[in-house]
Amino acid sequence: MLTIKNLHAQINGKEILRGIDLNIRAGEVHAIMGPNGSGKSTLAQLLAGREGYQVSAGSVDYLGRDLLAMMPEERAREGVFLAFQYPVEIPGVSNALFLKTSLNSIRKHHGLTELDAMDFLHLLRDKMKLVGMDESFLSRAVNEGFSGGEKKRNEILQLAVLEPRLAILDETDSGLDIDALKLIADGINGMRNPERAIVLVTHYQRLLNYIVPDVVHVLSQGRIVKSGGAELALELEQHGYGWVEAEYAARNAAQER
């Protein structure tokens, strides 16, 4: 579904991604872990189409198309979804209007009829139950005055309503207490299916207790330095990132010799 080859990217001349290779198939859940500043969020935002990054080398293929050539809205319509680390507040625009505008933009793109008010409300009620959100959130402005946990839950609600092919979740677990974390994990697990790929970008192993990934990657200084199964996350939790980085450096040195 998603094939990233030798991706290099800079912000204001500073190289953040230094040769990423990644292959994600439909039905898989990947976790991308790594220390602060390793480039995790940059990768997530770049895939969603955020401006301000200069791609200096490499390619990203999404379902046979050049993802980097697509506008952010085009990516979303073709099924790419990013759950933001810091969800943005949109004052004056209700959550319901926001979700409706977004869902109908995507449906229109696929030649589907736009949902009317009643159908939309039914759909929304079901999905809100799924993520344990109160209906009062529909009439509130997008993320405005929401607590950290409510904002994250709102991202998962959008995920559930928009049903993307590729969901990238950027630090969705940060700032959540254990109950909220379980709830969100349940929501995400409910979205797992053979047609969909999920990428969890996270700093901690905690979330992975509830959502067991198929593959875990360690990102460090803009490169994937190690990939493994779910057990890799546990090792990282116990021993930190230092040993992975040391191992990678030794391997590189050996190759150079």
Binding site: R50, M71, A76, E89, G92, L97, F98, T101, S102, N104
Partner: protein, 436 residues
């Protein structure tokens, strides 16, 4: 200067048929107001209060002579909310009994046109005509020529549930329109008044309106004003409230149309425990110019005032916001907050925003903030990342910015109407409208 076009002889009040022409105090008040105007003329930009707004075009483009009643005007087509509230329609400043539908009013509530009120109870408006000497030269002009407008008198304790809807239609004959409104709310009375100014599309009339509001102890008034004048029209207005103890005054000012609009909105919190809220939104395009000058006087202790104004400027338009807040000696425990946020959508558009706080009492809490900016890139990206195209995302953000103010209006019909009017002005507003 303005008298050159309309020769003085031609527009002197005694030569124009005006309401109250047989009431001695009215004749005297008109004449002295006219003398004051004739001696002073329109203000120039050298005057601090008119620094950003040039009114010299008014005298050049529009006549100052009050528009005559025009029975052939097809104004009925413009009436929007016939079924809601107590409707009074004024065409070119003249009351139209035919188009109005004041409906049933509870005992103790009197709603009449200014002309009728001058015939029936001429002493009631007298104090209000006298009060105006401290206000602008436009108020003097209105004193001289006021033709119509509504007088709402609420006896103590009366509550008017449905809004009083005052619709002022400019038929486009290019003359001057001088409405005068007076609202008197007795102790504990409450009401909502809507003033809607609607001009035919290319009208270039001049409207000079004054609304005076007197709130007794514990009285409540919600005042909503919507300016949708024609593209060449000039609109200058004063809304002046006087508040007694524990009264609540809420003012909403929406300006969506007109060539030049100037709203002076003032309230004086004369006794303890008053609440005053001034909200406003101006949405401008082309060469539109809109100036809000607000002034809140905290004279007595424990008053609360809130002011939220927002502007959206496109094209070569210009917005002006001047928010004066005066906390007089002794007005302790005053709690005041003022905010003016502006969105500039084009390089040629501009805004002048000026908070002006003078605090002469201790133990007060006064805060203010003003911003001028463009649409936020993070918000745009957030919407686009959800499949919304860039143009629709921009319209949605502008709508949201405006909607924060629209939501404060306590009249559902009007709120919906203003939302639609704002959306009609946005490039992708049509798409948003169907999803509301």
């Amino acid at each position: 200067m303005n008298l050159q076009q309309d020769s003085r002889q031609n527009i002197e009040p005694e030569h124009v048929p005006l309401p109250g022409h047989d009431v001695p105090w009215v004749v005297r008040a008109r004449q002295s107001a006219f003398e004051r105007f004739a001696a002073h003329g329109f203000p120039t930009r050298r005057e601090e209060e008119w620094k950003y707004t040039d009114v010299s075009a008014i005298g050049k483009r529009a006549s100052l002579k009050p528009a005559p009643p025009d029975p052939t005007s097809d104004a009925a087509a413009l009436i929007l909310f016939r079924d809601s509230g107590h409707l009074m329609v004024f065409v070119d400043g003249h009351y139209s009994g035919e188009l109005s539908a004041a409906g049933e009013l509870p005992a103790g509530v009197r709603l009449a046109s200014l002309a009728d009120m001058l015939n029936e109870a001429a002493d009631l408006p007298e104090a209000f005509f006298d009060q105006l000497h401290e206000h602008t030269i436009f108020a003097a002009l209105n004193n001289a020529f006021a033709t119509g407008g509504a007088v709402l008198n609420l006896a103590p304790g009366t509550v008017l549930d449905a809004p009083v809807y005052l619709l002022f239609i400019a038929s486009g004959q290019g003359a001057a329109i001088y409405p005068r409104n007076i609202v008197i709310a007795g102790e504990g009375a409450s009401a909502t008044v809507i003033e809607h100014y609607l001009g035919v599309i290319d009208a270039h009339n001049f409207t000079d309106v004054v609304t005076q509001i007197s709130l007794g102890a514990g009285a409540q008034l919600q005042h909503c004003k919507l300016v949708q004048e024609g593209s060449g029209a000039f609109h200058v207005a004063g809304i002046h409230a006087e508040q007694a103890a524990d009264s609540r005054f809420v003012s909403h000012s929406f300006v969506l149309g007109g060539r030049l609009t100037r709203n002076d909105i003032t309230s004086s919190l004369n006794e303890p425990g008053c609440l005053c809220t001034l909200n406003g939104l101006y949405l401008l395009d082309g060469k539109q110019h809109v100036d809000h000058h607000t002034r809140i006087d905290h004279i007595a202790p424990s008053g609360i005032s809130r002011e939220y104004y927002r502007g959206i400027m496109n094209g070569e338009s210009r917005g002006v916001f001047n928010g004066k807040l005066l906390v007089h000696p002794g007005a302790v425990k005053t709690d005041a907050h003022q905010a003016n946020h502006n969105l500039l959508l084009s390089r040629q558009a501009c805004v002048d925003t000026k908070p002006q706080l003078e605090i002469l009492a201790d133990d007060v809490k006064c805060t203010h903030g003003a911003t001028v900016g463009q649409l936020n890139d993070d918000s745009l990206f957030y919407l686009r990342s959800r499949g919304v195209d860039a143009a629709l995302a921009r319209s949605l953000l502008i709508y949201g910015f405006a909607n924060d103010i629209i939501e404060k209006v306590g009249v559902p019909d009007l709120r919906a109407r203003i939302r639609h009017l704002v959306l009609e002005r946005l490039p992708q507003g049509g798409q948003i409208k169907v999803m509301l």
